[in-house]
Amino acid sequence: MDITRLLTRYRKLLVAGFIILVLIFLTTFPLYGNDYYVKLLTFILMMTVLAVSWAMFSGTTGYMSLATAAFFGVGIMATAFLEGTLPFPLIIVIGGLLASALAFLIGLVTLRLKGIYFAIFTFGFVMFIGQVAYYIDVHILNNAWGHDLPLANPGTLLYWMLGLTVVTLLIIHFIRRSRYGLALLSIGGNEEAAEHMGINTTMAKVMLFTISAVFMGAAGAIYAPALIHVEARIAFNVFNSFTPILMAIFGGMGQFHGPIIGAVVYGYLDRTLRSELQEYFMVIFGVILVVVILFLPNGITGLIATLRDKLGGVIAKWRKGGQAEEHANT
């Protein structure tokens, strides 16, 4: 029995085993790993949540949202304001709920707009909320120096982020398999037809947008302590809207694991290269964004799939050639 057949038969088992190994690794890591790597993993997990949540909405509906930074920022500010007054788990929930409330409102009014207008609107919204938050925080609440957050145990933060990541992935997994997931798939397939088959497409999109925002807000709330110092203008940085997009597209939007791969790669590169390269990092980011859009629209997973097909074709031909020879010799 050859390797490929083994792999396909026990595929589910292999995937489950791999996931369990990763989980074991991540949960035990703080016990022996040094702080730098613990923080790196936390960052990568956070990026995963953002990329996966973004892909969940924008990949399914085809509406490109640039509002990620707004929802993420809301979560950060929630921690900035409520830290110390409320228990951390509650703050995380509040961060997620606030972000989702915002998403619900925006979704209701904008999801009937055409795609490009939705993109511009969400972009403008991030900038707007950043400006407003800054104005309120600095000029009305007089927090001119921003908010300082107490040092958090890196291991604790990692566990929270890991928990959020697992919850996010599980929820997305179950949505995809539910009838709601079928409705979303059909909206992505042909929205007009979906609506004519009885699907309230507007509400479906609004709900999906809202759900994706919960994860983004929670991620912000959890990550805030790692920033140590929080300011409104930094919390709402539109760059945080682009990175999830790049990660998702780079990793490959069609699959579940695409954004995860993109997040891992990007997260690692961001942490290791950003401080060294400074402006060049951003220039390279722009270049990679352009290159990926132009040449890798299906991302890495798409590339691998294409390569596998081509490789499979080559192997098949080679096998056929061998058989022909055999027949020729008899």
Binding site: L182, M197, N200
Partner: protein, 245 residues
């Protein structure tokens, strides 16, 4: 019983009237055809019934209920389903799932997964697609994609089915098969309202025909009446002459 009724139905795009003051009615169990030259407003009228876009003025009633202002998904759940001129199947899922969508969401009440699956297989069988349930849409021929659209619409358990140019692009054998399918559908109790250019189909299975021209209804009657109607012949002959030039 009048299952579908329209009074003074009009639709303006900017200053242009795509449909102008059209009165029409369809009785339950009928197969009614809608014909007219290109740009006459046929698909627009369909789009007004299914609420793909809002009506400018007039009223459309389904089983006595006003459809004005309702969204397409509500109308579907009320019992009106349709196919589209440019076949709008869900290209990102296999055939069975396409039909499942109709089964799940076309019913006004929440339906169990088992019931939906049953509904979907019945619709597939009715449309002759049981063998292709697992196939991807891209692998299907045009005529089979149209069948999928029909099966999907049937899975929503409609009382009224709107067929928009079902026969377009089909060869004569396929047209005859489609005509059989449409009659079969009507025989299960579903009323059919169909837009068509293929005269053989219209004359063959419709009991009544409405003729639109420049958005207005210019004739209505049985196939024989329409075939001998002077105005209708003129506009179609006129079309041919212009096409010939």
């Amino acid at each position: 019983m009048r299952i579908l009724e329209g009074q003074g139905v009009s639709k303006y795009f900017g200053g242009l009237a795509a449909v102008s003051d059209v009165d029409f009615h369809i009785d339950q169990g009928e197969i009614v055809g809608l014909i007219g030259p290109n740009g006459a407003g046929k698909t627009t009228l369909f789009n007004l019934v299914s609420a793909a876009f809002p009506i400018s003025s007039g009223e459309i009633r389904f089983k006595g209920h006003k459809l004005n202002g309702l969204k397409p998904h509500r109308i579907c759940k009320m019992g009106v389903s349709r196919t589209f001129q440019e076949t709008k199947v869900f290209g990102n899922m296999p055939v069975i799932q396409n039909v499942l969508v109709g089964a799940f969401f076309g019913s006004p009440k929440r339906i169990s997964a088992a019931d939906a699956a049953g509904e979907a297989s019945r619709a597939l069988e009715f449309a002759g697609l049981s063998a292709m349930a697992g196939h991807l849409i891209q692998d299907l021929t045009l005529v089979n994609q149209k069948r999928v659209e029909v099966a999907r619409a049937l899975a929503t358990r409609p009382e009224l089915l709107l067929l928009d140019e079902l026969m377009a692009g089909l060869n004569p054998t396929e047209v005859s098969e489609a005509m059989e399918l449409v009659t079969k559908i009507r025989d299960t109790g579903i009323t059919i309202f169909m837009v068509e250019h293929v005269m053989k189909a219209i004359m063959g299975i419709c009991e009544r025909i409405l003729v639109l021209h420049h958005g207005e209804k210019i004739a209505e009657g049985t196939p024989k009446e329409i075939a001998t109607n002077k105005t209708v012949i003129e506009i179609y002959l006129g079309e041919e002459t212009r096409a010939g030039n």
